[in-house]
């Protein structure tokens, strides 16, 4: 009887997600906000409280996080990470400073204490690589010169997650300084060793995992990942980081094969994860945090634009491309929710979950729009400012004809840039 109720509930959830996903696809936007909203609707205080499937959804959500991070690791080779770290670390530092600080400051202003501040810093810091990669493809910008800059910022953020997640895992567990440092040392050591091994002996690991038969490859990769994630969790390092490192260690054909095999699983469990997060957020708790979320979204959208602008300028991209890079980076998504999910599970500040939900809902919808319109708006504003300046300059001195021609040329250049 119990199992029948569970099947009905779980089936209804998945079906609803599928229909929502189709709806999102029709309007060309990410289904993440709809999944979150679905979770809100099903959850406590929502329209349809669930009972029987709660436990399964919780486990599914954990697997969802593990698969999200595994797939992220599979996307990159260890060489990608190391070379990006070597050449782009200033962009990563600027990104971290500009975007993590507003979150931390907001949490402190609201009097949530230092641990929540570190968590919220992560929520506002990490852009959504999934949403951004899709938007770049949709806008036909994959070939643009600013795209490698955008991607390298994303790579650095994902690499930073490998350090950041163990830190908040330790903080949330409330361990002391000594134990926390040990955890961090383990995490950093493990990350370093995995990167080293993957760069040197990536082929050997891949050969061990490799299999011509998709079924066996799926089982081996999935088993290995969940096992490593479990061990990482046991060592207080964070399951997600373990999964990410497994993804990094696998390379070449194995990574390609595993990627295509695991993508459907990832989609299923990641959707379950977003629903789970929504389930644990009481819809009535969202309106009170809506204003802070909106303010935070506006501030961190601007800081991301500044980050992208700066990083693209550093790479020698033209002004238009700099604005495009900035606008593209605005979207936050799955990882902000992953980070907030850890905090919610640990049960610190009760308003954190609703705030993160509202924040991500805003930015996952606004992100694709800023990606599209930041550059035209910046160009228009720049043009207006240039036109304002030119008459002012002319009133000061009557230019000789040759100067007028030059001024016009300059005007053209301003319009072009």
């Amino acid at each position: 009887m119990h199992s029948a109720v569970f099947l009905i509930e779980f089936g209804a959830i998945i079906l609803a997600l599928g229909l929502l996903g189709r709806f999102a696809g029709r309007f060309q936007f990410s289904p993440i906000p709809l999944y979150l909203l679905a979770g809100l609707a099903f959850g406590e205080g929502g329209l349809l409280p669930l009972g029987a499937s709660e436990e399964f959804v919780a486990i599914g959500a954990e697997i969802g996080v593990i698969l999200l991070l595994l797939m992220l690791g599979l996307e990159y080779t260890a060489n990608d990470l190391v070379s990006n770290l070597k050449t782009q670390y200033p962009a990563g530092l600027v990104d971290c400073t500009l975007n993590a600080l507003p979150g931390a400051i907001a949490a402190l202003l609201m009097g949530w204490g230092p641990v929540a501040a570190v968590v919220l810093a992560g929520v506002t810091w990490i852009s959504s690589s999934g949403v951004i990669a899709k938007v770049l493809g949709d806008l036909g910008r994959l070939g643009n010169r600013e795209t490698p800059v955008i991607l390298s910022v994303l790579v650095l953020e994902d690499l930073a997650m490998a350090v950041y997640l163990p830190i908040i895992t330790a903080l949330l567990a409330g361990v002391g300084l000594a134990a926390g440092s040990l955890t961090l040392a383990i995490a950093l050591g493990a990350a370093g060793i995995v990167l080293f091994i993957a760069v040197r002996y990536g082929r050997l690991i891949s050969r061990f995992v490799s299999s011509d038969d998709p079924e066996k490859l799926l089982l081996v990769v999935l088993g290995l990942t969940i096992l490593v994630a479990g061990i990482a969790q046991q060592l207080q390092v964070s399951a997600a980081v373990g999964a990410f490192l497994v993804g990094i260690a696998l390379s070449g054909e194995v990574a390609e094969g595993a990627h295509s095999l695991l993508a459907p699983l990832r989609d299923l469990f990641a959707a379950v994860f977003f629903v789970f997060f929504g389930l644990h957020t009481d819809p009535s708790s969202i309106p009170p945090v809506l204003l802070p979320a909106l303010a935070l979204a506006v501030v961190t959208a601007l800081t991301k634009i500044a980050t992208g602008y700066w990083a693209a300028r550093r790479a020698g991209v033209s002004v238009k491309g700099r604005w495009r890079a900035g606008g593209a980076l605005v979207a936050r998504g799955e990882f902000s929710i992953v980070i907030a999910g850890l905090a919610v599970a640990a049960g610190i500040e009760p308003s954190l979950g609703p705030l993160a939900t509202a924040y991500v809902l805003i930015l996952v919808i606004v992100g694709p729009l800023t990606a599209r319109y930041t550059q035209p708006i910046a160009g228009y504003v720049g043009g207006v400012l240039a036109r304002r300046r030119t008459p002012a300059a002319e009133s000061v001195q009557v230019p000789a004809p040759r100067d007028t021609a030059e001024a016009l040329d300059g005007q053209d250049a301003a319009d072009r840039s």
Binding site: Y76, D80, G140, G143, N144, P148, L151, G321
Partner: protein, 161 residues
Amino acid sequence: MPASRLSRTPLPGIGIRYDLTTREQQRLSVIAHRDGARTLSAYRSDDPDECALSTRLSSGEADALIDALMPSHHSPTLLHTTDLGLVAERVLLSATSHWNGRLLGETRMRTETGVSIVAVLRRADAIPSPAPDFRLAGGDTLIVIGTREGVETAATILGRE
């Protein structure tokens, strides 16, 4: 004619971008996605950082495009069905060919490459479905059908002097 150089830019998580700047300073790029798809981009002349055209091609479509772009294609393709991945080509036996006077069966074409030789064109007539005991002669044109790799290998085998 020196080979043009393509510069490579890795796009982490997406693939690799190959850039080509033509003699007329027009920039083109091809992004090789990891799933085998390709994105062909051409850049705007007023903003060299932005694409005016950006088209995603499936691997089959990319194949068809390569066919049209190949300047030194050794024989015109008669039929190219992207969805089946089959290619039909004419392969000419030279007068000094290794196969001149030998039997078609000796080429072990089907075993080696999996392609079928569906017809032989000799002067003005066509011999459909030649049997293995068919004697080849220099100057024959063979119509072969098979996978792209198979047909390439077949052309190599038939090209033996």
